[in-house]
Symmetry: D2
Subunit: 349 residues, 4 copies
């Protein structure tokens, strides 16, 4: 019953197998191997376009490289205040961009709204050297609140951004979960909606350590090779990184994994929503649940062996549960049962 993070899960067996299989003979290093070439081609097929892609090993690197490609050191990146790039990367975007500024925006359920974005951009002063210059909009999909932007929502926000000369970045650490949740094509959720560069995640959804920065705006990619190298993210034995992505993109594994994780989240949400005192803080649209619950209930879950994060202390306590590609439905049901039982006891006291 480990719902601490989708990072606590291991890797899909198919992906482990692909890594093993890649260990055959010599291969040119630094991405000049066959597997890396096939991954680039496969990404183009999946996204139905000619993109430029760079495999890297972490989401932090993928996001930061994408942002650095589109933001000068005196640029501003507009993003949700709770976005991972703003809160949970210890300043990586600032390091990679040479000191650009992330401008935090407010919005319910982890989502930037057109009105808030418009207002923020209205306050910016293009060409005014005293202030950082609007450069990018960053959207996380699925969001850090476990919700999703629809293609229409992305298109509206990207339209505003483009009208002001900004490029659009999507943090897709859980892109698969968003795509699976929405049932749209990867193209519809990205470049057709105006996304210029996507950090396409695989690690949280079954890879060991693999992401791809996918540039739909290929001009943006011009110097990413140098940036990747000098950040230490160019792998010498790249085949082992690319092999993960190839397996991830084969036979629909990436969507199957995400669909399972989403289903487990929905199952857990359905169960907990009927537990007295439990309240879902955000709609559950991907694989994360944010649940406010009595401290006694949270304690009972912990005591029963259920692992999850406590966001904010207090009573009720604010908690987060994350499901994964290999979450066991039986674990989900046991967690719900523990919560129900605790609530019953609590009510009986």
């Amino acid at each position: 019953m480990n719902f601490a993070s989708d990072n606590t899960s291991g890797a899909s067996p198919e992906i482990i197998a692909a890594v093993s299989a890649a260990n055959t003979g010599a291969a040119m290093p630094y991405g000049a191997d066959d597997i890396t070439a096939r991954v680039a081609q496969r990404l183009n097929e999946v996204f139905e376009t000619q993109a430029v892609s760079y495999p890297v090993a972490t989401g932090t690197a993928a996001n930061s490289l994408a942002l650095a490609a589109g933001t000068p050191p005196w640029g501003a990146v507009y993003c949700h205040g709770d976005s991972h790039i703003n809160r949970d990367e210890c300043g990586a975007p600032e390091l990679f961009t040479g000191g650009a500024k992330l401008v935090p925006l407010e919005g319910d359920d982890g989502k930037v709204t057109p009105a808030v974005l418009e207002a923020a951009l209205a306050g910016a002063k293009p060409g005014f050297v005293h202030q950082v210059q609007p450069a990018m909009l960053s959207l996380t999909n699925a969001t850090e609140a476990g919700t999703v932007y629809t293609p229409d929502e992305v298109a509206e926000l990207a339209g505003i951004a483009h009208a002001h000369g900004l490029k659009v970045h999507m943090d897709g650490a859980r892109f698969a979960n968003a795509a699976a949740s929405l049932g749209c094509t990867p193209a519809e959720l990205t470049w057709k909606a105006g996304v210029d560069v996507l950090a396409f995640g695989a690690t949280k959804n079954g890879a060991l350590a693999a992401e791809a920065v996918v540039f739909f705006d290929r001009e943006l990619a011009e110097n990413v090779g140098y940036r990747r190298k000098r950040a230490g993210h160019l792998f010498s034995k790249m085949r082992f990184l690319s092999a993960q992505l190839e397996a991830y993109l084969s036979d629909g594994l990436w969507l199957a994994n995400a669909s399972h994780a989403n289903a487990m989240a929905a199952r857990l949400a359905a169960g907990l929503s009927h537990v007295p005192g439990c309240r879902l803080v955000h709609p559950v649209q991907a694989n994360e649940l944010f649940v406010e619950m009595p401290a006694a209930t949270a304690d009972a879950l912990s005591d029963g062996g259920c692992v999850f994060y406590r966001w904010k202390p207090g009573d009720p306590v604010s908690t987060r549960f994350v499901t994964s590609f290999n979450s066991d439905p039986a674990d989900v049901d046991r967690a719900v049962k523990l919560a129900r039982s605790a609530a019953g006891q609590s009510a009986a006291e």
Copy 2:
């Protein structure tokens, strides 16, 4: 017959197996897992001291984090002009340190000499705000020229560095090759000789993508956790990175792999040194050979299916051959035979 780089080789089967074996159950992310704890302990045993270690995936990251730990943005890092950090990391040390300066030193066979180091430090002006301040000495062992520093040589250079207040970094991308070549203990070649921080390589010697930054001077490690994270080098599913290092350090695999690579280099050197027109540019003390040879000989090798790098064009041409943990002695012998044959033909023409 691929001698292009030790990066063209795949991974040791034992390491692949360890990665597979690590895929069991849930594990806390970001290094809070059991395998990572065991690797730290194992490194302490191998180096016979209490070090602080950080697994990362690339040598560029390992070196740059080590340098950033010991060099302020206004610091100077003294290193050989041909060192990897100076020539082949696209400015990664500059990025990680916030703009420190690498001061290139000359020296035969890829090695810094005490006299050159003393002279360089004599020209520095501690406390003089107009100039960058001496901060670190960086030594590569085995060197980029395929030679090694002995423990005594390291100790003499480190002694000079420490006397001037510098910290000592060792780029150990091929540390195993140096240790195997010298037959000394890892401790003798590092902290006992004055090394403060080691970038301990595994990737070139059989891992998929794994290195460890090993701080013998533990105070230097104080902020490396933040630096690693904001550079995108903190792996969420760290167990898969640590599993590589654990296997690498088990049952002497790291030294056995390096010994094999060194033996193959010696075999190739012995063979080529008797080929008319071929000249070893540097002593062959690890797993790299730099060979000057007639262009016709080089062409014949290429035509025969032997892969290697041509450093500088011309006739004779300057070439590099790198052997690996899994180089096949038969391949070595075939390469020598090709060269001999070409030299014979050439002589006969």
Copy 3:
């Protein structure tokens, strides 16, 4: 009638004279001259303590050097969202610190409140490598809204900051205006209230281009000499910079200048506050006024030759007026008269 900025004024005649007078004979460069030594001593007297001070030419440099001294690249600087360092320095703090993050806080009248600061710090996670680490609190006094923090208010905020391990920076671009307004000693408003480093402004208050970074926490100053040099802010003919500060600090010029500017702001505020349709947005406690007024009134002022900034368009329009050390009371009265007249006409229409 130029109320656009205190930067539109020239310099105090006393300061111009001091620059001329400094042009005598040879003087050692880079701050090794007598005048610079005297300025350091004079600052110690004015602030009644042993500080370490660095003259520089711009407020951006003064603030950024101060912040860089107390914030690592992975640090967070808590500041008001409207603070100059956050909004009007084009990312200078990010450049000087190597990419630290400014965390914008809300607060009426340009002032951070204890409750907001406490809440922000409660959300921070010391030692958690995923997030930037609380490093500094920055307060502007007088604030960007033309208000002031009292010594007690500074002390309460600094107390919170220190309790969380933060250093306290004060942006004193208009420090003289604050001190003159409050009638307290410079010491009471700074180190006695917990300020660790002050950017002590002179440019806006009568100098040509001169500020001083004054470190009350002298350990913070350790590396500022290097940082100043590599940012290009170490002046070779420093005497001409220091001469400005010496004159500024002589015979109470700095406080006299500020008192005049404050008095002119109060006079303008008193006048405009009685003009129909005009509303002071913030209390007027220093030398800036923020006035909401009918667009027709603003237009009449402009047409009459009065220069000021229009913050936000609309009707009413949001405007800013800044008075200076040499603002002419007659100009103030003319501006009020113009506004009154416009309001009367408007009312009569």
Copy 4:
């Protein structure tokens, strides 16, 4: 008898007077004033072209902004090993460029030669992501050795640089001395010879603190406004900076000052060259002399009140003398007399 540096001199009376004269009435800040506009126009006239210019206060800032405009963080700047940007700016170019690499070249008398430059560029690998990319050539004129590049020499070097896609920067901290020495037009020594951006110095030659970055390649200037601001080098009361440049460029003051300094250097060189034991290390072509002399002679000069720098200790000792726009011929003669006298005594002992 102060020959320590041209920075020990004060300012030209004409320039002090211009600063005073600029203190009239209100002026729009940040360079939107009339004087700044006139300076831009005047620079265009002096250089006989349409340039884009930015006044700043220090040479370090001028050089670093120029380099940052033409070099990405992964770029290489080729320069003489003894150049000021490489040795005496504490890493300022690295800070401003975001970590670019200065590649030190050798060359007699402080000058880069075509052969050395060609060889360095031949070793670079455009497009190879492992290595920093050739971006700029930087030449200092007059050089740090007190010599000058002729227009033809600049043109040859710039031609090589341009052929490899590099931009050409000239560090003109002593540009006036070079131009006066060569008797060529400013245009001939810069853009007509292929210089893309010049750091045009005034401080050492009579200003208080004033330089201009002059972009002949106007596209390079695109983002310099942002870079200047975020480095803290945009002056609010810019008129006082621009007034210095205006006076400097009026009535040939800049060339007259430089000619005087050069003449004093020639006079001192002529005198010392006949002193037994004294040897000029480099040709004296501008306003700096490097003189090897017996330690006893140097001591006698010091004892007699002559101030100069001792570059390297020993006997003979290596010394530097710098003359200035206001060096007194009598001081020069007294210095020569002291040296002669010391040599005579020495010989007599």
